[in-house]
């Protein structure tokens, strides 16, 4: 089984790959939920929902809402999330399971080729299924333990980040924070456990998003800065 050394760059790629795949799946599920709510409850449901992520979207009907969710000109569009997931996956693919990479690339290719065409709920469901396949690999892959622990950590952080932003689920985050802490500790024995003692959303988000910075040793980054400065001076 391959468990090679992992560089700072690669650790970041793996972590962000996990985050973006999880983000894509969560946002797709939110799109389906929003689609029904736009039809059944309130045409503006999607606007309010995306506003929680500080995103303004505009649409005329339920199909258009889905299209804007997938291709809209905003940072949480599925097209841009998948593109970022794929970019990170390309750079880290030597440490990733091939079928998972291929499935992600396939989603990307589908999204690129379908731009400008109608997006249906059935297509969204297919993407969710594909992403579930990839997320299944995250949790079942044993061969490249360290690499997949970074991916899983990204996946956990993202899930809780979105839950906090969209639903403010503090209790759930606290209950599951142990899982993130355990993963972080496995990756770096020097990692100190985090606890959330605040009900301030901004602080809680900063804490959860800051876990990776405690796994990727600060001294490694500091050394980098010192090295670069000394080279400049030299």
């Amino acid at each position: 089984m391959i468990d090679t050394a992992i560089t700072i760059n690669m650790a970041q790629r793996l972590y962000w790959k996990g985050r973006y795949v999880q983000r894509a799946q969560t946002m797709l599920k939110e799109l389906l939920l929003g689609y029904d709510n736009v039809i059944d409850r309130d045409i503006d449901y999607g606007r309010y929902h995306y506003a929680k992520l500080d995103i303004e979207i505009d649409y005329g009907n339920a199909y258009d809402f889905i299209y804007q969710g997938v291709y809209g000109n905003h940072s949480s569009s599925i097209a841009s999330i998948i593109m970022m997931a794929r970019e990170n996956a390309i750079e880290a693919r030597n440490l990733l399971e091939e079928r998972g990479f291929a499935r992600l690339n396939l989603i990307h290719n589908c999204i690129v080729s379908a731009r400008g065409k109608e997006v249906t709920p059935a297509m969204v469901e297919d993407f969710i299924d594909d992403l579930s396949f990839i997320l299944g690999i995250f949790s079942s892959e044993l061969g490249r333990t360290k690499a997949y622990n970074f991916v899983r950590l990204g996946q956990y952080v993202e899930r809780f980040d979105l839950i906090l932003r969209l639903y403010g689920g503090f209790d759930y985050v606290n209950a599951e924070l142990d899982a993130m802490n355990t993963l972080a500790k496995r990756l770096n024995p020097d990692y100190q456990f985090n606890k959330i003692f605040t009900s301030d959303l901004t602080k809680a988000l900063a804490l959860v998003n800051g876990i990776i910075n405690k796994v990727i040793e600060e001294k490694a980054c500091i050394f980098d800065t010192v090295e670069k400065e000394s080279q400049t001076q030299g």
Binding site: I2, T4, A5, I6, T7, I8, N9, M10, A11, E87, I90, E91, R93, N94, L95, E98, F101, A102, N105, L106, N109, L187, N188, D190, V215, I216, E217, E218, K219, A220, F223, D224, E227, Q231
Partner: protein, 454 residues
């Protein structure tokens, strides 16, 4: 002219006639789905492009390949000996075999590395030798030696697996040499020269045309894929910066970037993809760099002319494989011939690669002809001229039928404890009929290469 059908190729066609040919499209799907890309930069834009693949393989009978293998190993041994000589005593120059001017003016020659002996004396760890099969003699002819950063090996290795999955019939019914041991052989070669520490593959990054290959090779060798800023040098030792703050010693670097970009302290100061001070570790013998620094002097198009003489000089053997008939305008006699016969020659600029800087004399306009003649007279060292080799076309599945296309072969050689030639290689074909330029950077496609024993 298409290569005559051998019994081995006939066997392929016999099986081919019986298989479900509609599954051919699965190869394209496979390459696209898996992003098996050879990317291009066009007009400043990065274009992701999967490498066009043709399923009819080049088939080389085992006996014929044995001959090729012996010739290629001989050539790589001589080239390695040449590099060791050039960077130490330069006996081949002193003995008048290669003119000193040819060494000194070779763009890949790095005099500042004179006297640096790499681990185990190996400089040509991974070579890509380009050959074509001449329709006149029926013999294989060497066109080029690539001793710096030869790319392409990952494509036949990748497609072979897909081929076995899609059409197992060929592998069940034909005795096709295996190539999947390439990763192990490369790892063994890295271990062989490793000075103590990790094996790493140094990539220029995701936007390099061959990034897929860098990633692939990291996977199959277990080496760590690194960018320049992942490595640091301390006390002339190379370390990898691990995510957890540890610094892990590096013993062998398979670098996939040219000398110019490798160390901004030593070469191009503008390089952002290299490792500052890496050459201090290399000079101190604390790390193996694969391929060796300064190898460009040996795969210079001008030096190519002298390779048969190198074989005689260093190995005391007759060359098993021939060069294409080549003229050096540097020599007055050759220059006169070249200028008088330019219409039937190919003129190559020695500073160019990837199919660039190649002019076919019979296609020049009168003005282009005058210009190139003036350039040759002004700087004869910059050019070589070669007789046009009428090399074989291979059958390709194109435009709904089977059409002939010019094709070459790149053989991959690993120099570790032993020298091994991969029992296959990358066959590249031109996309347009009659085009002699098969390079992937010129839009060509690839085939798998099967070494077959009946």
């Amino acid at each position: 002219m298409t290569e005559p059908i051998t019994p081995e190729l006939q066997k392929f066609y016999d099986i081919f006639d019986g298989v479900d040919q509609s599954k051919v499209s699965e190869f394209k799907d496979f390459l696209e789905t898996n992003a098996v890309n050879f990317n291009l930069f066009k007009e400043g834009n990065f274009i992701e492009r999967s490498f066009p693949f043709d399923m009819i393989p080049r088939i080389i009978p085992k006996k014929e390949f044995d001959h090729l293998e012996a010739g290629i190993i001989q050539r790589v041994r001589a080239l390695n000996a040449f590099l060791n000589d050039i960077y130490t005593d330069q006996k081949i120059v002193a003995d008048g075999i290669v003119p000193k001017e040819y060494i000194d003016s070779a763009t890949g020659y790095l005099p500042s590395f004179q006297g640096v002996i790499p681990p185990k004396g190996i400089r040509t760890h991974i070579s890509g030798i380009d050959l074509v099969k001449d329709t006149v003699s029926g013999e294989w002819v060497i066109l080029e030696d690539n001793l710096r950063v030869p790319s392409g090996v990952s494509y036949p290795l990748t497609i072979r697996r897909a081929f076995r999955h899609t059409y197992p019939e060929f592998f069940e019914q034909m005795k096709i040499s295996k190539i999947r041991q390439y990763g192990t052989e490369l790892k063994d070669a890295m271990d062989h020269v490793n000075t103590g520490g990790l094996n790493v593959i140094l990539t220029p990054g995701r936007y390099n045309s061959a990034f897929y290959e860098h990633s692939y090779l990291a996977k199959v060798t277990g080496a760590t894929l690194v960018n320049g800023d992942d490595l640091i040098i301390e006390d002339k030792v190379v370390y990898l910066r691990s995510y957890n703050g540890e610094r892990l010693r590096v013993g062998a670097i398979y670098r996939r970037l040219d000398d110019d970009f490798l160390d901004p302290q030593e070469f191009d100061a503008e390089s952002l993809i290299g490792v500052p001070h890496l050459m201090s570790a290399y000079r101190a013998g604390n790390v193996a760099v694969m391929n060796g620094i300064g190898n460009g002097v040996a795969d210079d198009k001008g030096i190519y002319y002298f390779v048969p003489e190198m074989i005689r000089y260093y190995l005391k053997e007759e060359p098993i494989l021939s060069n294409a008939p080549t003229y050096l305008p540097y020599y007055e006699k050759d220059r006169e011939y070249v200028l008088a016969n330019i219409d039937k020659l190919v003129i190559k600029d020695v500073a160019e690669a990837g199919g660039y800087g190649v002019l076919f004399g019979n296609r020049l306009t009168p003005q282009q002809r005058e210009e190139i003649i003036a350039k040759i007279i002004e700087n004869p060292r910059r050019f070589i001229a070669q007789e046009v080799i009428e090399f074989y076309d291979l059958p390709c599945m194109l435009n709904g039928g089977i059409e002939p296309r010019k094709a070459d072969l790149r053989a991959y050689v690993i120099y570790g404890e032993e020298i091994t030639v991969s029992m296959g290689g990358l066959t590249r074909y031109a996309m347009e009929e009659g085009n002699y330029l098969v390079n992937s950077s010129q839009g060509g496609g690839f085939k798998d290469t099967w070494v077959v024993e009946l």
